[in-house]
């Protein structure tokens, strides 16, 4: 039976939500097309995820254990994952689209002479064809991209699909992986984490994002207070990362991170299409902006037209009360 192979991204002992979304959708896609579903975990201790993965019903799990996966280098991942592609012999390989995925997918596709369709908003199988839609031209339109290659790699934007449990018991195969660290042509020297990286923005359930309207340090403090009251991650538009008020690592948008939280606060953000491309998959969007014609209100579930310097302190206070509640 032909198969779909899903790469399972992990961080800090947890499976990334974006990977569970891909796994959930691929379970359905596999069922609809009479295909098998296999999951691949590359980790320092992959077996710790087996129970969680079984909740989503893969037919088989490949566990590939190696200490090298504790660092962020792409070349061991390319070698290891290639081994699994050869073992599994899938017709479709699906990733969650992350910065790590972006560094390996092209090389993997080239290595396996396969097609690659990155960063898709949706995809499906039609006979021999993988049909995907992905944002292009600064996210102003969707391109319909297809491939009839024997092997196709796709990566999926976070929030494109819902997670859906389908408990089962997968066959588990422990795959041996020898890697010669001496042969590495790249060396990880250091990982620099900024304060903003405490909560992984792309995985966060609640995001408070700041735009040009926050103006200065006082505005930034209000954003951080609101985020703290919600246990939320802080994000920012390009305007305020360029001005230096927030680090570039927090930029949300087509050229920054793609987020898909349950709740997204766009504060003082006008809603340029490049920013919207990074957050439009959020479930509930709250926009706070003094300009009633700001484009962000077209995307907002709830829009507040007014002065954020008045609104944020009140909002933070009320949320604190509810959370203390």
């Amino acid at each position: 039976m032909s198969k779909i192979l899903v790469h399972v991204a992990t961080a800090d002992g947890k499976i990334k939500r974006s990977s569970l979304e891909v796994l959930s959708y691929c379970r359905k896609l596999a069922d609809d097309n009479g295909l098998g579903l296999e999951a691949a975990v590359l980790d320092i201790d992959p077996s710790r995820y087996t129970d969680a993965l079984n909740t989503y019903g893969p037919d088989k799990i490949y566990n590939l254990k190696h200490p090298i996966f504790s660092n962020h280098l792409s070349s061991p991942v390319i070698d290891a994952f290639s081994l699994l592609v050869e073992k599994s012999s899938p017709r479709l390989v699906a990733f969650a689209s992350t910065e790590s995925t972006k560094e390996v997918m092209g090389a993997l596709a080239a290595r396996h002479n396969a097609a690659a369709i990155p960063d898709v908003a949706s995809f499906t199988l039609n006979g021999n064809s993988v049909d995907a839609e992905r944002p292009v031209m600064a996210a102003k339109v969707l391109s319909k991209t297809s491939s009839s290659s024997d092997l196709v790699f796709v990566s999926v934007r976070s929030g494109s699909y819902d997670t859906a449990e389908k408990p089962g018991t997968a066959e588990v195969e422990e795959v041996a992986f020898d890697f010669d660290e001496a042969g590495l042509k790249s060396v990880l020297k250091e990982v620099i984490s900024s304060a903003g990286d405490k909560v992984d923005l792309s995985e966060a359930e609640v995001v408070v994002a700041a735009g040009r309207g926050i103006k200065d340090e006082e505005g930034r403090k209000l954003i951080e207070d609101l985020a703290n009251s919600l246990g939320a991650a802080v994000g920012a538009s390009r305007a305020v990362t360029e001005s230096g008020l927030f680090p570039a690592t927090l930029q949300i948008g087509q050229t920054g991170k793609v987020v898909s939280p349950q709740l997204y606060f766009a504060v003082g953000i006008s809603g340029a299409i490049q920013h919207v491309a990074g957050m439009a998959n959020s479930k509930v969007i709250v926009a706070i902006n003094k300009d009633p014609d700001a484009p962000i209100f077209q995307y907002a579930t709830y829009g507040l037209v007014g002065d954020l310097f008045k609104i944020l302190p009140l909002l933070t206070e009320q949320i604190k009360q509810v959370k203390a509640g």
């Binding site: 910065e99 092209g106 339109v141 319909k144 297809s146 077209q298 949320i319």
Partner: protein, 258 residues
């Protein structure tokens, strides 16, 4: 230090765009140097200004794309290579990577720089495919770059935090637009660029048959469609405390997200 920078000519994505029967229509047919490519050129220029050597830019595209090579030369690149293919509409990242690999197999360089993606397709595949084809050490999404002891030290933006990665030369690095602000060509730069060499090569010169080009492409673009909108929401104006009370009520009782 000799650096090869792969650049791309793209439509001006800031221009209004519409879809007519599945094809794109723009108010302008203005073509520009891709912003990520421009950051790669800028970074290469900064490195050669510090460590000596030259920057060569390489572009795959039609005759019209020569103006984009001239732009990079006006910024300060020493020479250009134009891999002339009049119709690139059927070529995907795999095909571009094959063509660029064929050129670089004959070239000598200490590093190849490219944009981390291009503004028109945002795919971000060509760099890593090219690195694989040339068996080069590779890092993507660089936000900083240094050269020390025959190695490139790349600061790349990862999923959680920034990673410092050391790559032995020769290597390939893809550049973020957060890396720098590309310089605007000076009048002097523009005048000098006219005297700089642009070598034109064809796929046949690189040993690639025209018929092979499209079969190197493994994906096909079937058309375009509008980005779906969101359900219209509720919008409040008025006193701050009233709006906040309304919002709290909706977040708790309607959306149930608190």
């Amino acid at each position: 230090m000799n650096l090869s920078v792969c650049i791309k000519q793209v439509p001006d994505v800031s221009a209004p765009i519409s879809i007519k029967e599945g094809t794109l229509s723009q108010d302008t047919d203005r073509m520009v140097l891709d912003a990520y490519s421009a950051s790669a050129v800028e970074e290469a220029l900064v490195l050669t200004e510090k460590h000596g050597g030259e920057v060569q830019v390489v572009l795959v595209g039609p005759e019209k794309a020569k103006e984009t090579i001239r732009k990079a030369l006006a910024m300060g690149a020493a020479s250009g290579v134009h891999i002339l293919i009049e119709d690139i509409s059927g070529l995907d990242s795999s095909a571009f990577a094959e063509i660029l690999a064929a050129w670089h197999k004959k070239a000598s360089f200490d590093a190849i720089l490219t944009g981390k993606q291009s503004q028109d397709t945002d795919a971000g595949l060509t760099g890593s495919m090219l690195a694989w084809n040339l068996e080069l050490p590779f890092a993507a999404n660089a936000v900083g770059l240094q050269f020390e002891n025959d190695s490139f030290i790349v600061k790349r933006q990862g999923d959680s935090g920034q990673e410092m990665v050391e790559l032995k030369s020769p290597c390939l690095i893809t550049c973020s637009n957060d890396m720098n602000d590309p310089r605007i060509p000076s009048l002097k730069g523009i005048m000098q660029s006219k005297r700089k060499t642009v070598e034109t090569v064809t796929p046949a010169d690189l040993g690639i048959e025209a018929s092979a080009l499209n079969s190197d492409s493994k994906t096909e673009r079937k058309g375009f469609k509008e980005v779906p909108g969101r359900e219209p929401g509720k919008k409040f104006e008025g006193e701050a405390d009233e709006m906040v009370s309304n919002l709290m009520n909706l977040l708790e009782n309607e959306a149930k997200v608190l």
